[in-house]
Structure formats: structure tokens, C-alpha cells
């Protein structure tokens, strides 16, 4: 198959505006362009949706308020009232991932959440931030996190490394989950779409039906993975705020 039609061609980073800072390549790429588009979409959605600020919300205001209430409720359920201070961050994370996923559903667009660099950077930010919050709040007591109470001291040399590894695996599982879901879903879509062409008018209908079904599934996954990313962030925050 020609290189241009490879199912992975959609994940290719293309430089739009080359920028070089010293030795570092900070070019404006299609990935950056879609991140900008995502931020602009979110801003437009929230600002324009809330512009009228009516007592009886219209459609857009209703969606904007729903997304707010959804994340506020999630944060309240998982973290409790101490989590309120972190609402802006959690809400931004959710909207960024969600709208990024949804932008990826537009044909010919680029899905930046399907790149491990992007998701891992976000997960690492969450991880470091949450660890710093825990350290600031609990000082040295934070390290008792790695030694559950009621465990005999003999187990400590074995258990503490395991707990530390388990803690360090958080950003990886957080980022891999989002990245792998988006990557696999979009690749699968493209593969089945390729079957439609290669089987032609005779046999192409079955893969076409699959593509339609998978597109629906991809929308579900776009929401679900944004939700999972957010709820995991909330849970990590909860751990940081109330150790045990």
C-alpha cells in the first residue's frame, strides 16, 4: 500500500511553522495547531454559551452548565469539599482531553491525545503536582503512604519498594490508557476504511458498516477516556489530600 494511505499516516507530525530556539526545535506543528483549536473551542463554547447568562438557560448555556456541574459533582464525590480549590485545574483537564478527542473525530484532523508524549506530559504534570500537594500538606508524613499501617516490620523492605513502584506506575498507566485507546481506535477506523476501498462496491459494504459502528464507539471512547483521565486525577488528588 502506498505510504500515504498507511493507517498510521494520520498520526504523523507535520511542521507548519518552523521555529528553532537554540538547539531545540519548538516548531508549530499540526499537533500544536489542534491544541490551539481545542483551547479556542473550549473558550468559545464556555464564553459564548454563558454570554446571555439567562436564568432559564438556552441550549448552549445548558451544555456549558452541565459540563460544569458534572465535573463539580465528580470532584465532590471523589475528593470532597477540600477539592474545590482544584476545580479549575480538573475542569480544564477534562475539557482539554474531551475536546481534543472530539476534534480528532473530525475527518482529516489530527488527534493529539493519540500521542504518548502529549498524554504522558499531562500525566506527569498531574503526578508531580499531586505529589507536591501531598508533600506540602503532610510534610514528611507523606512517606507513610508507602507503608500501610498494620503491616509487620519484617515485610517493610519488601513492601516499601513495591509500594513505591506502584506509586511511580501511576503516570504511566494514566497516560498509556488514554493514548492507547485513541491510537487503537483511530488506527482501527482507518484500517476498516481501507478495506472498504480495496473490496470495492461488491464486498465493501460490510467493512463500511463496521466503520459506521466503530465511529459511534469512538465517540463513546472519546468521552469515556476523558472521564477516566479526570476521575483518576481526582482520585490521585484525593490520595494526596487525605493520605490515611
Amino acid at each position: 500500500m502506498a505510504e500515504k494511505h498507511s493507517p498510521l499516516a494520520q498520526f504523523e507530525i507535520k511542521t507548519l511553522v518552523p521555529i528553532q530556539l537554540g538547539d531545540i526545535d519548538v516548531s508549530f506543528t499540526n499537533s500544536s495547531a489542534f491544541m490551539v483549536a481545542t483551547v479556542l473551542t473550549i473558550s468559545a463554547f464556555l464564553v459564548l454559551g454563558m454570554r446571555r447568562n439567562a436564568m432559564v438557560p438556552g441550549r448552549w448555556q445548558s451544555i456549558a452548565e452541565l459540563s460544569y456541574v458534572f465535573i463539580a459533582g465528580l470532584l465532590k464525590d471523589t475528593v470532597g469539599s477540600e477539592g474545590r480549590a482544584y476545580f479549575p485545574f480538573i475542569f480544564s483537564v477534562f475539557m482539554f482531553v474531551l475536546v481534543g478527542n472530539l476534534w480528532g473525530m473530525v475527518p482529516y484532523s489530527f488527534t493529539f491525545t493519540s500521542h504518548i508524549v502529549v498524554t504522558f506530559a499531562m500525566a506527569l504534570f498531574v503526578f508531580i503536582g499531586v505529589t507536591l500537594i501531598a508533600l506540602a500538606k503532610h510534610k514528611m508524613h507523606f512517606f507513610s503512604f508507602f507503608m500501610p499501617p498494620g503491616v509487620p516490620m519484617i515485610m517493610a523492605p519488601l513492601l516499601i519498594p513495591i509500594e513505591i513502584i506502584s506509586y511511580l506506575s501511576r503516570p504511566i498507566s494514566l497516560s498509556v490508557r488514554l493514548f492507547a485507546n485513541m491510537l487503537a481506535g483511530h488506527t482501527l477506523l482507518k484500517v476498516f476504511a481501507g478495506f472498504v476501498i480495496s473490496l470495492g462496491i461488491v464486498g465493501g459494504w460490510l467493512p463500511l458498516a463496521f466503520v459506521v459502528a466503530l465511529t459511534g464507539l469512538e465517540f463513546v471512547i472519546a468521552f469515556l477516556q476523558a472521564f477516566v483521565f479526570t476521575i483518576l486525577t481526582c482520585l490521585y488528588l484525593n490520595d494526596a489530600l487525605h493520605l490515611h
Partner: protein, 130 residues
């Protein structure tokens, strides 16, 4: 969220509307909505399998990485890596155990996990997070 904080000086029609909104909302709140928000189609076996494998592999990868870096640093290749692969595997299994036994998505130690350890099997790794 804001429907409890109705100011008393609202006009009658607004108050009536507020009451109607409150009534309309009630079945949704007391019904499955509050719960279903935390359990979005977690029943799918494929999703569960995927979560399990990600947890296993990520902990193993972290163990491998730590061992490898320590080996580079202390010049003890390959012994520390072997030790940390085993520890990473143990951490991965612990992650999966926690995930599957009602600790929610959370990896790492959690207090409320102790409280609901008895009924750990009934909820499939979610719902207890609140």
C-alpha cells in the same frame, strides 16, 4: 447545585419554576444517576481486561526502568534489574488486585479500602470511590 439557595424575595412565578425544576430533578437524583455517573459502562469485559493489562505492564515497566537505572549507576548489571523486575511484577499484581477489589481506579494505598474490604467483590472496582 444552586437550587437550595433560593432567595426569599424571588417573584412567585420564579419560585414556582424553581419548585418545578426541583421536582423534575428529584427522580433523577434519587435514581441511578448519581451512581451511574461513577460507573460508565464499566461492565464491559474488554475495558476491564485493558485496564488490568495496562496496570500490570506499567508497574512492570517502572520496575524494569528503576532496576536498569540503578544498574547503570552502581555498575551491578544485571542483578538489580532482575530484582526490580520481580518487584515490579508484584507491584503490578497489587495494582490489579486493588483495582479489582473495590479500591476503585486508584492505585496505591487508600483508607476507605479497609472499611469496605468485607464487601469488596460486589462492586466491580468502581462506585466505592465516593
Amino acid at each position: 447545585m444552586s437550587d437550595e439557595s433560593q432567595e426569599p424575595e424571588l417573584p412567585d412565578d420564579l419560585r414556582a419554576m424553581g419548585q418545578r425544576l426541583k421536582d423534575g430533578r428529584k427522580p433523577a437524583d434519587s435514581g441511578g444517576f448519581a451512581q451511574s455517573r461513577l460507573t460508565p459502562k464499566q461492565g464491559s469485559a474488554l475495558g476491564l481486561a485493558f485496564r488490568v493489562s495496562v496496570e500490570l505492564v506499567s508497574a512492570l515497566a517502572v520496575g524494569l526502568g528503576i532496576g536498569w537505572l540503578l544498574d547503570e549507576w552502581l555498575d551491578t548489571r544485571p542483578w538489580l534489574m532482575l530484582v526490580f523486575i520481580v518487584l515490579g511484577g508484584a507491584a503490578g499484581i497489587m495494582n490489579v488486585y486493588r483495582m479489582a477489589s473495590g479500591y476503585g481506579y486508584a492505585v496505591g494505598y487508600q483508607k476507605q479500602g479497609d472499611a469496605n474490604k468485607g464487601g469488596a467483590d460486589d462492586d466491580q472496582g468502581t462506585g466505592s470511590v465516593g
